[in-house]
């Protein structure tokens, strides 16, 4: 089976690519995406630093994948839903979730720190692919209720090997759910390369078996991502059913701060991907065409810096643990057994002189 070249609109040198079959997004949309990518990278670097300072327990970086993080959010309307994974914290923040709330999971103060209904962002999924059937369910419920909302569900290349990936795509296709499945293929599932996940020519090819369109796109080309994901979202909203989009990108940082990527990939490979940097590419395109002045670029960096400062300051505020929280949300009404256990914990604490 022939491997189609990924859709690209701007090449790694910042030059436009003709005849891709998709229209280049507007200058405004590209400028907005540029600012968002700069912010995304700064927040990602800040989060990494916060792990080293002991303010976060762990942080799975999306450095190098900023084009995917930004496009996934930019193509959605306010009523649409985003289903992120643990590596998509930046996308969660770009969707409008307060950064400190977004990092609650990785800080370890609770599992999910935001109200998923407020910005229509599902809790970040830590197990792989299990969020994909949830996304299908949300989409089907929206249709059942006569709403036109679309769901965009993120996963990585490793997650495509999970059974839930298969079941979710099959359900979505059979029931024509308004969902876009967006796979960020960053070449590695922790240490395991894509060649150990699949023998398919590409991940997008899997769509054929489900009877839905599958599109490969250059995952470091935000223009192409906006075009391809935007078309998939419109198709879903218009009742055309689901689409599988595979973005080919690369995780520049290790899996998390606890990982040693040198054990499984050569530095030379990382260097080659740095040369395909999504931000530099768009910056080159916009600058050479007079759409991005030095002043605007500097102001963008400054705004990102301010956001990083706010994040630092926010995470410096200690969170007081409330032991009663352990029991409050297991059920709508705690069981008699949970009330007994809560009383036991409160009693233990009070005997230690801690007021719960």
């Amino acid at each position: 089976m022939e491997l189609a070249a990924p859709v690209g609109l701007i090449d790694p040198h910042g030059e436009p690519i003709a005849n891709s079959g998709y229209e280049l997004p507007s200058v405004d949309a590209l400028c907005e995406a540029y600012a968002a990518m700069v912010l995304a990278r700064r927040l990602d670097e800040q989060a990494d630093a916060l792990v080293r300072q002991g303010r976060l327990a762990v942080y799975p970086s999306s450095r190098g994948q900023e084009a995917c993080q930004v496009a996934a959010v930019e193509v959605l309307a306010s009523g649409d839903w985003l289903f992120p994974t643990y590596r998509d914290t930046v996308a969660v923040i770009l969707r409008g979730v307060d950064p400190v709330q977004a990092l609650t999971l990785l800080r370890g103060t609770w599992h999910c720190g935001y109200d998923p209904h407020e910005h229509r962002v599902a809790p970040q999924a830590t197990p792989l692919a299990t969020q994909l059937p949830h996304a299908v369910g949300v989409a089907l419920a929206a249709r059942q209720r006569g709403e036109s909302d679309v769901v965009l569900a993120l996963c990585g290349d490793g997650a495509t090997s999970e059974g839930d990936f298969h079941e979710a795509l099959n359900f979505a296709a059979v029931l024509r759910a308004p969902v876009v499945f967006f796979v960020q293929n960053n070449e590695y599932a922790i240490s395991v390369p894509l060649s150990r996940q699949t023998a398919a020519p590409s991940l997008a090819h899997k769509a054929i078996g489900y009877g839905m369109p599958g599109v490969r796109v250059d995952g470091n080309d935000v223009a192409a991502l906006l075009a391809v994901l935007g078309a998939a979202v419109r198709r879903a909203r218009d009742g055309g059913g689901p689409t599988l989009v595979e973005a080919h990108t690369y995780r520049i940082a290790p899996h998390t701060n606890a990982d040693d990527a040198g054990r499984y990939r050569p530095e030379d490979e990382v260097r080659r991907w740095r040369e395909r940097d999504p931000i530099a590419r768009l910056e080159s395109y916009l600058t050479s065409r007079g759409h991005l002045s030095e002043e605007t670029a500097a102001a963008t960096v400054e705004r990102a810096e301010q956001a990083a400062t706010r994040l630092r300051e926010g995470l410096a505020v200690p969170v007081e643990p409330h032991p009663a929280d352990l029991f409050a949300h297991v059920y709508a009404t705690p069981t008699p057994q949970l009330r007994e256990q809560e009383a036991m914990v409160i009693d233990e604490l009070s005997r230690e002189g801690v007021s719960p």
Binding site: C112, A122, P133, G137, Q144, G163, E167
Partner: protein, 331 residues
């Protein structure tokens, strides 16, 4: 027929009526699973629902249990009240991760911002001569998982009432339907008040010892009490109805009134719900007990082929033997 009329129906019909009435009462209720549409379910529990309420409200899905439960999670996140059927106990296992990691945890991980009012119906247990993988008593897996309510009816009236309560619950409910009681028949008044989830009930009074049973073993325990009465021993029978939340108050009051207890359950006994019940009763009622709490359970073997299942399942004789062993000589 008025609401006050009594009708003689089967447990399967009572469950069907509960689904019908819930679909009629609330537009957000949806029913789906394998074969639940045109066929009406392999046990006919969803019979006629698609015809009455349409494909949007009761529909067949691809054959994929994790997908069924996962999609139900998403629907419940977005305003619906899904009631899904997983066709047989052992065929629910592919959905285990969705249930244990997502259904059970969503409320807690989001501090109550996302709740999942959904019901997972599982035809469960043995005694119907089913071949391999069709007879597991799987309640311990679900009861062990915080965040789930686990309910199992033993009577026709409770089948209706508990299923209505489960569908109305703000929390996810694992609804275990004892397969061998599907065809049990009783004269019932369905319009009676629905029993709240989490309440056990004393089915038969007796002063000598307490049999604690649930779901498929309640009729067996009642038969044992019948036989014991002929032999001059009065056995009390408690029907738990709900494994989670567990009704310690009713169970302890019952056991303390007799001073002797036997837990009767068809699951494998080791590390099972029956072990938890025996431990709870021992901890809470120790000073009122005249004998150690006994358990009559399924054997610790994979569910046997149909030709052997009578050796595996708790029988009247095995229950009465256990009762005989409750240290009567000391009383």
């Amino acid at each position: 027929m008025t609401a006050m009329d009594r009708e003689k129906i089967t447990m399967a019909q009572a469950l069907n009526r509960a689904l019908h009435d819930a679909l009629a009462a609330d537009d957000s209720v949806v029913v789906f699973g394998e074969d639940v549409g045109t066929l009406g379910g392999v046990f006919r529990i969803t019979d006629g629902l698609t015809a009455t309420f349409g494909e949007d409200r009761c529909f067949d899905t691809p054959l994929a249990e994790a997908g069924i439960v996962g999609v139900a999670v998403g629907m419940a996140m977005n305003g619906l009240r899904p009631v899904v059927e997983l066709q047989f106990d052992a065929f629910a296992y592919p959905a285990f991760e969705q249930i244990a990691s997502h259904v059970a945890k969503m409320r807690n991980r989001t501090r109550g911002q996302v709740t999942l009012p959904l019901v997972i119906r599982i035809p469960y247990g043995g005694g119907i001569g089913g071949v391999e993988h069709h007879s597991d008593a799987s309640e311990a897996y679900w009861a062990h998982t915080p965040g789930l309510h686990v309910v199992t009816p033993a009577t026709v009236a409770d089948a209706y009432g508990l299923l209505r309560a489960a569908i109305a619950s703000p929390d996810p409910v694992i609804f275990l339907e004892p397969k061998r009681l599907y065809w049990s028949r009783d004269e019932v008044r369905l319009a009676r008040p629905v029993p709240p989830i989490g309440t056990a009930v004393v089915r038969r009074d007796g002063k000598d010892a307490t049999l604690i049973a649930y779901g498929p073993t309640v009729p067996v325990a009642l038969q044992a009490a019948e036989v014991a009465a002929m032999e001059g021993r009065e056995l009390q029978v408690v029907d738990l109805r709900s494994l989670v939340p567990f009704d310690d108050a009713t169970v302890c009051a019952a056991v303390e009134s007799t001073g002797r207890a036997v837990v009767v359950s068809e699951e494998n006994g080791f590390a099972g719900v029956s072990a938890e019940i025996a431990a709870r009763v021992s901890e809470r009622c120790f000073h009122r007990l005249a004998a150690p709490v006994r358990r009559v359970t399924g054997l610790d073997i994979p569910y046997p082929p149909p030709h052997y299942e009578s050796l595996h399942l708790p029988s009247v004789d095995r229950i009465l033997d256990a009762v005989d062993g409750l240290q009567w000589e000391y009383s």
